[in-house]
């Protein structure tokens, strides 16, 4: 016999009203400013809790606490995964189609810290694939990404670097990262970053090559090359005129890269 309130398991709340359980377990006095959810539907504070019920009580006006977010993440990912993710520092080189989507995925995963790098602003042509909204047009991608990440998880630590990255500043920018995600646009920049990580550091590099158009989704793969390079993409489809980058395959590649980061952190790679 068990029920859950805010992902906290409790036998004693069975038979209590949501209002009583919120006070007893979460020390919260539920009123109109609260969102109440029971088993995936909105609920009233006087509804009684039964065996197996999952209840959430969230105050609309208060910022969700770090403890609450971590409880939700531990419940979804397991405490072991959450602990490893929350200790990780990941660098993201470029916040375009790949980087903006990867940053969002890693925020949802509860990564501890991200160093996000881009010198560019959000433009209208970005909206077809990059994780920005109309309200971000004209703003620095670093600042827009930070804002979006903090709307998902306010407790992910963000360091913004508004610089054009090259081998002169890679060492300083990425010194804290154990994993660097290559999310550049130009092939020369990709090669420069990967060469630096593999040649001069012990870090892992998750890079991308080839994801344009609407070719078969299944042609995008993750390949391990050597011990520390992971290469995602179809290796073939270059972004060029009439063969541009489109949201679905870019998101697939970004998803591969983000999942690759998780797998490296969890020792699966």
């Amino acid at each position: 016999m068990e029920a859950f309130i805010n992902d906290i398991e409790s036998e004693e709340i069975i038979g209590m009203s949501i209002e009583q359980a919120a006070m007893s377990i979460c020390s919260r006095e539920v009123d109109k400013s609260y969102i109440l959810i029971k088993n995936g539907y909105t609920a009233h504070m006087h509804e009684l809790i039964k065996d197996g019920d999952r209840v959430y009580v969230l105050n609309k006006e208060e910022k969700i606490t770090e403890e609450e977010i971590n409880t939700f993440l531990k419940a979804r990912h397991s405490p072991k995964v959450h602990e490893s993710m929350s200790k990780s520092v990941v660098g993201i080189a470029g916040l375009g189609g790949l980087g903006s989507n990867i940053a969002m995925n890693l925020a949802r995963l509860g990564v501890g810290k991200m160093i996000i790098c881009d010198f560019d602003i959000v433009e209208p042509t970005n909206l077809n694939r990059q994780n920005y909204y109309i309200e971000h047009l004209g703003r620095m991608k670093t600042s827009a990404t930070e804002e979006i990440i903090h709307k998902i998880n306010p407790y992910v630590e963000i360091e913004k670097r508004e610089v054009y990255l090259d081998k002169e500043n890679f060492p300083e920018v990425f010194k804290e990262c154990s994993i660097v995600v290559e999310a550049f646009d130009k092939a020369e920049c990709k090669a420069e970053l990967v060469n630096w990580v593999l040649g001069d550091t012990d870090k892992y590099i998750v890079a991308a090559s080839g994801m344009a158009g609407y070719y078969d989704s299944n042609s995008i793969k993750t390949r391990k090359i050597g011990e520390r390079l992971f290469l995602i993409g179809d290796g073939v489809n270059e972004a060029k005129e009439f063969n541009g980058l489109m949201a679905p395959r870019v998101a697939i590649a970004a998803g591969h890269q983000a999942n690759c980061v998780v797998r490296i952190i969890m020792g699966e790679m």
Binding site: E182, G233, V236
Partner: protein
């Protein structure tokens, strides 16, 4: 020599010339010879004798 798992009949060739033969651009590649990353600055002088295992990753633009 092997390049990305395929056997090629090259010997006594610099990395720079190998890349030219394979129609690859120096600035867009990562080259590993016998599991060691090669610095781009050495492509013109590093001589491959024919028994090496070479891995070349050629990057495609877009992201």
């Amino acid at each position: 020599m092997k390049v990305n798992g395929k056997i090629y009949d090259f010997n006594e060739i610099t990395v720079k010339d190998l890349l030219k033969e394979l129609k690859l651009e120096e600035g867009k590649v990562v080259v590993e010879v016998d599991m060691k990353i090669l610095n781009k600055d050495t492509f013109a002088t590093y001589m491959l004798h024919g028994k090496e295992e070479v891995e070349i990753v050629a990057f495609i633009g877009g992201g």
